[in-house]
């Protein structure tokens, strides 16, 4: 699972959970898979990305040291920074581990790079 996906993922579908974001990451295996660099997409996507959540997630999986705590105003012109963000958002891939709901503590296992977001019947909100 890429950190871009993680940045969009919530556990708010669980009954009683209101925000469910950001999910905490506990990773036991992380890989970096090369993805073509697409600058316009990165810039466009950054308007949707929750930066503190990305920064925290990148640190949780061990790829956070390259990212600033806050995203400055001139990031669009800084290709070195955009490439680092590209790496964090799209190339870092969590293969094994789990996601933890910040409100309920419910764990979602990640295996073979795929998070399991299936709920049991009593967890589904009506």
């Amino acid at each position: 699972m890429k950190l871009l996906t993680h940045n969009m993922l919530t556990s708010s579908v669980i009954k009683g959970v209101t925000k469910g974001f950001p999910l905490k990451i506990v990773a036991s295996k992380v890989e970096v898979r090369e993805v073509d660099y697409n600058e316009p997409f990165i810039i466009k996507t950054l308007s949707k990305v929750d930066w503190p959540a990305l920064h925290q997630a990148a640190n949780e999986v061990g790829y956070g040291e390259d990212l600033p705590i806050e995203l400055g105003e001139d990031f669009q012109k800084d290709e070195t920074l955009l490439r680092k963000i590209h790496n964090a958002l799209l190339q870092v891939d969590i293969i094994e581990g789990e996601l933890v709901c910040p409100e309920s503590g419910r764990k979602f296992p990640i295996s073979n790079g795929i998070p399991n977001m299936l709920l049991s019947e009593h967890e589904v909100s009506s």
């Binding site: 699972m1 993922l9 996507t45 949707k48 299936l118 009506s126």
Partner: protein, 274 residues
Amino acid sequence: MSSSGRPEHQAPPEIFYNETEAAKYTSNTHMIDIQQKLSERALELLALPDDVSCYILDIGCGSGLSGDVLTEADHVWVGIDISPSMLAVAREREVEGDLILGDMGDGLPFRPGTFDGVISISALQWLCNADKKCHSPAKRMLKFFRTLYSVMRNGTRAVFQLYPENSAQLELLTQQAMKAGFTGGLVVDFPNSSKAKKIFLCLFCGGSTQALPEGLGTENTATNVRQKHVKGQRKPLKTLRDRVLEKKERWRRRGRETRPDTQYTGRKRRSHHF
């Protein structure tokens, strides 16, 4: 699919799409070809802005065949599917998109305004089934459409190609989608052909009122009829040669062995004088 009856009647999707069934989506070229064409049409109906990479959700992404079409068009995608076997195949194929194991009927687990477009190929009809005792199709549909509406960016579209079992299913799906706030409706390609007919539920999320795209194989037939009436003219009759050439072209498209076209193609045989 037609030879084995409707898969929704056999087992829940996470059981039906087991390893054997999932393997078909990598080995059966006919199936791959159909999935690709449907995905291309769905992408066309999404009417995304030109030359912009978008962030797309693929619902019922399976082994990622539809995702490949999105990747080819330079879009970044996330796929959600309920079948672990299908997702394992997608992973094995090293698809570009990210994959999530989930049930669309539980609601979509994303932040509001995440996606620039949503596609779904041959998956929505599964929502019409109650595979567990606690399942109520109408409730699951509404839950699904409500969360779908929320995860889409305002002014974007969701296009579902589906195989409904009957018109009641289509009606319920459309009704629940409208209840969730969507506008739009059905686009039917080749409505007069039982084989080529394809149904797309095309939903608009907010934004200005948009006209529903036209189905394929409908406008041409309509204009032909109109022209005939207006002008009172008949199309010139096709010659034998034209008809033979057309048939040979059809055969080639289907990959059948066909002799090359020559000056003798479609010509009458001369009677023998000797």
